[in-house]
């Protein structure tokens, strides 16, 4: 079974600085996706960035980028120029496939990010 581990329950960063959130996962599959989701106090799950396992190039979305190390099964999220609106719970998630083509999302425990003004 796949597992996802986020070892940092809480992180804080000064506004405009850079912060990196860690994630490791375990799988025996070769074809999968990895995601970072943001959950603000509104509870909405917002997709921040995705990475396809077969792509060696790290994904980037504006101020958000990942460091994907497939052999090490590591998938960290870097937030540059942190803004107050980045404060949220962040979840790392692994996506495999189940029977009938349904998605199997396995989530880490979450990292609560605080932005200090």
């Amino acid at each position: 079974a796949q597992t996802v581990t986020q070892s940092q329950p809480e992180m804080s960063v000064q506004e405009a600085e850079t912060v990196t959130l860690s994630c490791t996962y375990d799988t025996s599959e070769s074809d999968y996706y990895l995601f970072w989701y943001k959950q603000p106090p509104s509870r909405q799950m917002i997709l921040v960035i995705r990475q396809e396992a077969y792509k060696q190039q790290n994904a980037t979305e504006n101020r958000f980028s990942v460091n994907f190390q497939k052999a090490a099964k590591s998938f960290s999220l870097k937030i540059s120029d942190s803004q107050l609106g980045d404060a949220a719970m962040y979840f790392c998630a692994y996506r495999g496939l189940m029977a009938q083509g349904a998605q199997k999302l396995v989530f880490g425990q979450g990292t609560r990010l605080t932005i200090n003004p």
Partner: protein, 112 residues
């Protein structure tokens, strides 16, 4: 935003009573999912559906049942609620060739 509506958004119920949560989508997506979110566990899959009347168990299915009689509706039922089922419940949808799952706003259920 994907058209997913969960109802109710908040519910308090007593131990031993039945509870049904509803997920309604307007996207005509094939797959629908129910997750629960608890501190220290992230989100965990309860049940999912891959079509009308087609459902299967997820990771934490004990004490829950689901039904899907129409493409747009996916119901989660707690036959006899227990305090351990106090949680935030999320519905999600996905389509066959789409890599992204879309989530509803969540339902906070408290069992007292």
């Amino acid at each position: 935003d994907a058209g997913i509506t969960q109802s109710p958004r908040h519910k308090v119920t007593e131990t031993g009573t039945p509870v049904t949560l509803r997920c309604h989508q307007t996207e005509n997506h094939r797959y629908m999912y129910w997750y629960r979110q608890d501190p220290g566990h992230g989100l965990r899959l309860i049940h999912y559906s891959y079509g009308v009347k087609d459902t299967d168990k997820g990771e934490v299915s004990d004490g829950y049942s689901v039904s899907r009689s129409k493409t747009e509706d996916f119901l989660l039922t707690l036959e006899s609620a227990t305090s351990s089922q106090t949680s935030v419940y999320f519905c999600a949808i996905s389509e066959e060739l789409n890599t992204e799952a879309f989530f509803g706003q969540g339902t906070r259920l408290t069992v007292v």
